[in-house]
């Protein structure tokens, strides 16, 4: 009030409780100038511009190969010789797709891989959730040593175990029991007529690995699950115990419903990495056996590639195979990507 008087502002109306003063408002233009014509705002604009351009640029780098692959998959043979054809096919054709579906057992591979990936994805998610919960919430002797071994399984390059993994499932035997029973030291004791089972070319090796949390990158899933459960308040379980729930009932009724987002994240990882996996499928499945996705990547017999544009054409065919392999994954990703980001954000992954 004093201020207003001293600066010579007109006092319009003065009552006991209120005072209305006519401030000399600065003009719109002045306010506009103060708000927008300063260094901070300018820096902000520059930053936002830079950020947008940068993000769009990187998005372009990520998406461009897909555009290139998609457009080239519709090109006909002639387009690869024609240097004026770059991104837009001049003679669009579906021949490549048709040939791959017809010659490369695509439908068979799709069905087999779907069964395998859904099964592995679900099993790995459940198993890793269980194991992760065990590591996160229970103190028992050997907890930390076992967890170190989990991380160890993540570090060992799988090429190291390629041969022995193949041998293990080619001559499958649990701790030498089959050999002992079937080895026939005493002829009358021959219970099992073989010394080992060949599990290769079946779903068994991957099923066994998934069931024991040893499949591809399961160490990472266990780690993520453990970190996620470490962030759970202990009171949640304690109150359940007080209400008379057992540890297992608490897990199935309270913990699992609360960790659904994270489980979907893990499922997405497990499913899609199993889908595009070429290591395990090549170790455990011979080319003559069950058709899986790696068998799709080949040049179909019915396409003639013996001509000038050969290299590019073959490359385009291989890329089309790749596109057809990931087509179902793209759908899954579009549905599930929201869960992926949310799940990771809530996991509170930390280094300790």
């Amino acid at each position: 009030m004093d201020n207003a008087k001293s600066s010579g502002t007109k006092v319009l109306k003065e009552t006991k409780n209120k005072i209305r003063v006519d401030f000399e408002r600065t003009s719109k233009w002045e306010r506009f100038k103060i708000k927008y014509f300063n260094g901070a705002f300018f820096a902000h604009v520059v930053f936002v511009l830079f950020r947008t351009v940068f993000l769009i640029g990187i998005s372009y780098v990520i998406l461009y190969p897909f555009f290139a692959k998609i457009s080239s998959s519709f090109m006909s043979r002639e387009d690869f010789v024609d240097v004026t054809v770059k991104l837009i096919p001049r003679n669009p054709t579906l021949d490549t797709y048709r040939a791959i579906i017809r010659d490369n057992y695509y439908v068979q591979a799709l069905i087999n891989t779907t069964i395998l990936s859904v099964f592995c994805g679900v099993v790995q998610t459940i198993i890793c959730t269980i194991i992760g919960y065990g590591f996160a919430k229970f103190k028992f002797k050997g907890n930390s040593i076992l967890f170190m071994i989990v991380i160890f399984t993540l570090i060992v390059p799988h090429e190291t175990l390629q041969l022995s993994m193949f041998m293990k499932f080619r001559y499958f035997d649990i701790l030498g029991i089959f050999k002992l029973l079937g080895g026939g030291v005493i002829p009358g004791l021959k219970v099992i007529p073989f010394t080992s089972i060949n599990l290769n070319n079946s779903y068994w090796p991957l099923a066994i690995l998934s069931l024991t949390g040893l499949a591809f990158r399961n160490g990472l899933y266990i780690f993520m699950m453990r970190q996620f459960f470490k962030g759970f308040p202990n009171e949640l379980e304690e109150s359940a115990y007080i209400d008379g729930y057992s540890v297992y009932k608490t897990f199935s009724r309270i913990i699992i419903p609360n960790s659904f987002t994270m489980m979907i994240t893990i499922f997405l990882f497990a499913f899609s990495w199993q889908w595009t996996d070429d290591f395990y499928t090549e170790v455990f499945f011979t080319t003559e056996g069950m058709k899986l996705m790696p068998d799709v990547v080949a040049v179909p017999k019915s396409l003639d590639t013996q001509y000038a544009g050969q290299n590019l054409y073959v490359s385009a065919i291989r890329n089309t195979c790749g596109l057809m392999i990931i087509a179902p994954l793209i759908v899954v990703y579009l549905i599930g990507q929201n869960f992926l980001v949310q799940g990771i954000e809530r996991s509170g992954l930390t280094a300790d």
Partner: protein, 323 residues
Amino acid sequence: MTNATSVSNAAPKKKKRGSSLDSKKARAGWVFVLPFVIGLIIIYIPIIFDSIRYSFNKIKILQGGGYSLEFVGWANYQEALFVDPSFVQTLSQGITQILFDIPAIVVFSLFMAVLLNQKMFGRAAFRAIFFIPVILNTGLVARIDEGNQLLEYMEDTSDSIETGTENSSVTEIVSLTDVTWLFQTMRFGTGLVEYVTQMINNIYGIINRSGVQMLIFLSGLQSISPAIYESCSIDGATTWETFWKITFPMVSPMILTCAVYTVIDNFTAASNRVMTYISDVYNQAGGNVVSSAMSWIYFLIVMVLVGVVAGVVSGFVFYQRRD
């Protein structure tokens, strides 16, 4: 378990009901991790043991089923290190390249995570795009992308239309000669300039390999309390200062995680040069035991490197005190 029995032996009158809550919980813990323990005993330990054993043997598949081993001592290792013409070279090249890639990947993923963490128009769409490589560019697709002629051709925007000749050169986002010319007068090491140009031109590879790291950093950034940022802005800190004084120290444990993850991920990726070489050797006649030996050599180097990286990075890590 042993604890529980000893307790009940020592004081049988006090605890007649059996085990205490703690030992009950310990037993439950074992039940939860049981699948892994079973797998460890019947699958993993035998596999590791076999792998080491095979690397010291020559292997023969018998016709009636089964196989026989012939102990050859260090011969496989000797062959890998001294007889094989290109293993050592591939190994050293592969390792150097990965070592150079690690800082680039970690810095890039931190930078991207900070950008993607800001509130802006289209954030969800950008995030969805940035995590595409994590899901889609793995395994088979990564293998198809290796030395992909199609992409080189498609990205090649040179004058091939005018001259009519096919230009097979790999496209460069930044030309090295231009950059060196630009920095000629400044006091930068040419090595550094070359490194940065190489990284920028290899941006596709780096983006492809930094998806999980980005997710890890993003989760770290989300866990920083907004109250800290608020008090910073009240105190008049600029965004730049806030980043270096608050964000960076707070996510530094994530940097450790990411660095170790990057080392492991890159070294065990099937698309990596050494891995490709080893699996080539595996497919050669009689090469499978040699490849076993090679991968054990490789694994030892990876272990040492993980240790070194973890040691170096953990020196810079700031841990928030949690009371």
